[in-house]
C-alpha cells in the first residue's frame, strides 16, 4: 500500500511536469509560428533582416540586431565570468580552502539570490555612469550589458567548477607533486585540463542564463533596434525587446506574434544549450 501510494504520487508529479513543459512549448510555438504561417513573414526575412519596424506603414520584422545583441552580450559575459569564476574556484579549493569555504563561497552564491531588477538598477547607477565618464558614448550598450550579466552568471560558473575541482581524483595531484611539480605547474598542467569539460559546462550554463536574462540587460543596453557600431552604443537583445513591447501590443496582432517568434527562438536556443551541456557531460565521463 505504502509502495503504491508513493509510486502514484511520483507518477502524478512527473505527469504534471511533463504536461506543464509541453504546454509551454506548445503555446510559444503556436504564437511564434503564426507570423510565418498567417502573417506572411519569411523566416529568412526575420533571421537576417536588419530593420525592425513593426509599427511602420509597411511593417518590417528583421530580428538580426537582436540576435547579434543577445549572442554578443552573452559571450562577452562568459569571457569576463569564466576566468573570474575559475580563479575563484582554484582559490577556494587549492589555495585557501578554509577562507574560501567560509567566506568567498557563500558570498558568491549570494549573488544568485539577488533579483535581476536590482542588478539592472545597480548597472544603471554605477556601471553606466562609470563607462560614460571613461569611454566615448553614453555608457549604455553591449559592454554594460555584458558586465552586468557576467556578475549574474558568476555563481553558476564558480559553483560548477568548484564542484569539479573537489571531485578530482586525489591521486592526480599527489602524483604531480611527487614528481616535483610546483603548485602552479600542477594547477595549469594537471588540474585545468582534467576539469576543462566541467568548466565548459559551467560556462555554457552561464551563457544560457545570460541569454535568457531580460530585465537587467534591458535597463543598461539602450534598446535601439540596430546593430551597434561599438561596444558603447545602444543595442538590443531578444529578451529586452520582448519585455519592452509585449505589454504594449495586443495578443494576436502581427507585432505581438513577431515577439512570440523571438521567444520561440530563445526557447530553441535554450534547447541547443542543453544539448551542448549533455555532450560535454558525456565527454567528461570518458
Amino acid at each position: 500500500m505504502e509502495e503504491l501510494r508513493g509510486k502514484a504520487y511520483v507518477y502524478a508529479c512527473i505527469l504534471v511536469l511533463i504536461v506543464t513543459i509541453f504546454s509551454i512549448v506548445y503555446f510559444i510555438a503556436v504564437r511564434g509560428l503564426s507570423p510565418f504561417l498567417s502573417d506572411g513573414v519569411g523566416i529568412g526575412e526575420m533571421l537576417f533582416g536588419k530593420t525592425w519596424a513593426p509599427d511602420a506603414d509597411v511593417p518590417l520584422y528583421g530580428a538580426l540586431p537582436f540576435l547579434f545583441g543577445s549572442f554578443s552580450t552573452s559571450l562577452l559575459a562568459a569571457l569576463i565570468a569564466a576566468p573570474l569564476g575559475f580563479c575563484a574556484s582554484i582559490f577556494m579549493t587549492e589555495i585557501m580552502p578554509k577562507l574560501g569555504k567560509t567566506v568567498l563561497q557563500p558570498a558568491i552564491e549570494l549573488l544568485a539570490g539577488i533579483p535581476s531588477v536590482v542588478y539592472g538598477f545597480v548597472g544603471l547607477s554605477v556601471i553606466v555612469p562609470f563607462l560614460r565618464d571613461t569611454f566615448p558614448g553614453q555608457g549604455i550598450g553591449i559592454l554594460a550589458g555584458g558586465i552586468v550579466l557576467s556578475i549574474m552568471i558568476l555563481p553558476t560558473v564558480t559553483t560548477i567548477s568548484t564542484d569539479a575541482l573537489r571531485s578530482l581524483p586525489s591521486g592526480l595531484k599527489e602524483g604531480s607533486y611527487a614528481l616535483g611539480a610546483t603548485r602552479w605547474q600542477t594547477i595549469s598542467r594537471i588540474v585545468l585540463p582534467t576539469m576543462l569539460p566541467s568548466l565548459l559546462t559551467g560556462i555554457v550554463l552561464g551563457i544560457a542564463r545570460a541569454f535568457g536574462e531580460a530585465l537587467a540587460v534591458q535597463m543598461v543596453i539602450g534598446n535601439a533596434p540596430h546593430i551597434p557600431g561599438s561596444l558603447f552604443e545602444s543595442a538590443s537583445t531578444l529578451t529586452s525587446i520582448i519585455t519592452l513591447s509585449m505589454g504594449n501590443t495586443t495578443l494576436g496582432s502581427p507585432h505581438n506574434n513577431a515577439l512570440w517568434s523571438l521567444a520561440l527562438f530563445l526557447l530553441i536556443m535554450t534547447f541547443v544549450f542543453v544539448f551542448i551541456v549533455r555532450l560535454l557531460e558525456r565527454r567528461a565521463v570518458r
Binding site: I21, F22, S23, I24, V25, Y26, F27, A29, V30, R31, G32, L33, S34, L37, S38, W52, A53, P54, D55, A56, L124, P129, R132, Q138, G139, I140, M219, G222, N223, A224, P225, H226, P228, G229, E233, S234, I241, T243, L244, S245, M246, G247, N248, T249, T250, L251, G252, S253, H255, N256, N257, I268, F271, V274, F275, R278
Partner: protein, 326 residues
C-alpha cells in the same frame, strides 16, 4: 543518447503540433483555439457576477481592471477608497498592470472587466482586429499631460515644433543648432509600441518617427527620468507627474506645460486615460466607473496623482484630433 533523442522528439512533436494547430486556429487572426486558452493561465478572478436579491439593494461582486501602468496608481487608489465605502463594501476591485495592449486584449477576451489604456482602442486594434474595438465602450476618466524634457545643462528651455521634429528624426544632432550648449543630443525614446510615444508623436511632432541608431529606448517613466537627469545632452518626454527640478522642462512653441494651459487647449500634448468595458458595463462595474467620475474623486485623487480631471477640461478631442469647445 537515448535521453537526448527523447528530448528532441518532444520538441519536434510540440513544434509540429503547434504548426498544425496554428493553421486551424489562427485563420481568424489570433482567435484563441481552445487548447491555447487551456494552457494560458485563466485570470484570477471571474468576471463580475452579481447576485441580485430583491430585499438587499447592496451590490456585490468582483471587478478586475488590468492594463496601463501609467493609470494603475490612480485606479488602485480609487479602488481602495471605493471598497472602503459602506455602500460598496460587497464589491472587491483588483487592479493589475501589464501595459495598455494587455488591458485591451484582456477586456476584449472577457478575462478582465475593465481594460485600462493610454490610447484609443481603435489605435491598437487595427485592420483585422478592428471589430474588437467596436465592441468596447470607452470611459475617459482622466487626462495626462506630457512635456518634452532635457538634461539640465543643455542650455535650452524652449523648442519649437519644427525643432522637436528635427531632433527626433535625427536632422539636428547637437544642442548648439537649437541655441544651446555644444553638446551632442541623446534621444531617450519609448518603444515604438508605447502609448506615451504615440501621444507625443501625434500631438507634439505631428509625424511618426523611426528608431534611430544610438537612441535609447525605455518603457518605464522612472527609468527615463533617471536617464534624462544623468545623461549629458539627453532629450525625452515625460508625463507631468514626473517633472521636477532634476530635469529641464522644455516649453513647446513658448507655451508652458501647465494644467491650465492643457485644460484651455493652449498646450496640445496630452492624452485621455481610458477605462474600457466590453459592451455596456454591468451594475457593479458601472458603480465603480461612476465613482471614478464623481466630483469628489476627480478633484482629489485625480489631481493628487498629477492627472488632470476630465471634468475640468474646457475642450473635447476626438480620436482624429478634432477639438471642440465644451
Amino acid at each position: 543518447m537515448k535521453k537526448s533523442m527523447t528530448l528532441l522528439m518532444t520538441v519536434v512533436l510540440g513544434l509540429t503540433l503547434a504548426a498544425c494547430g496554428s493553421n486551424n486556429g489562427n485563420n481568424a487572426n489570433g482567435a484563441a483555439s481552445p487548447s491555447e486558452s487551456a494552457s494560458a493561465s485563466p485570470s484570477a478572478s471571474a468576471p463580475a457576477s452579481e447576485s441580485p436579491s430583491p430585499s438587499a439593494e447592496k451590490l456585490t461582486g468582483s471587478i478586475l481592471a488590468t492594463g496601463s501602468s501609467a493609470l494603475q496608481p490612480l485606479v488602485e487608489q480609487v479602488a481602495q477608497k471605493f471598497m472602503a465605502e459602506e455602500e460598496y463594501s460587497g464589491i472587491t476591485v483588483q487592479v493589475q498592470g501589464g501595459g495598455s495592449g494587455t488591458g485591451l486584449t484582456q477586456v476584449s477576451d472577457g478575462q478582465a472587466d475593465i481594460g485600462n489604456s493610454d490610447i484609443f482602442a481603435e489605435e491598437k486594434f487595427k485592420d483585422a482586429d478592428a471589430p474588437k474595438a467596436a465592441e468596447l465602450v470607452d470611459h475617459q476618466v482622466a487626462v495626462v499631460g506630457m512635456a518634452a524634457v532635457a538634461h539640465p545643462e543643455v542650455g535650452v528651455d524652449n523648442l519649437t515644433k519644427q525643432q522637436l521634429v528635427d531632433i527626433f528624426t535625427g536632422k539636428i544632432t547637437n544642442w548648439k543648432d537649437v541655441g544651446g550648449a555644444d553638446q551632442e543630443i541623446v534621444i531617450i525614446n519609448r518603444p515604438s509600441s508605447s502609448g506615451t510615444r504615440k501621444t507625443f508623436e501625434t500631438y507634439a511632432l505631428g509625424t511618426t518617427t523611426e528608431d534611430l541608431p544610438g537612441s535609447i529606448q525605455q518603457d518605464s517613466s522612472g527609468t527615463v527620468h533617471k536617464l534624462v537627469a544623468e545623461t549629458p545632452g539627453a532629450i525625452s518626454y515625460l508625463a507631468l507627474s514626473y517633472l521636477d527640478d532634476k530635469i529641464q522642462v522644455l516649453k513647446y512653441d513658448g507655451v508652458e506645460p501647465t494644467v491650465e494651459n492643457i485644460t484651455t487647449g493652449k498646450f496640445p500634448v496630452w492624452a485621455y486615460e481610458h477605462m474600457y468595458t466590453k459592451g455596456e458595463p454591468n451594475p457593479v462595474v458601472k458603480a465603480f466607473l461612476d465613482y471614478m467620475m464623481s466630483e469628489e474623486v476627480q478633484n482629489t485623487d485625480v489631481t493628487e496623482l498629477n492627472f488632470i480631471p476630465v471634468t475640468s477640461m474646457q475642450i473635447v478631442r476626438d480620436i482624429d484630433g478634432n477639438i471642440t469647445q465644451k
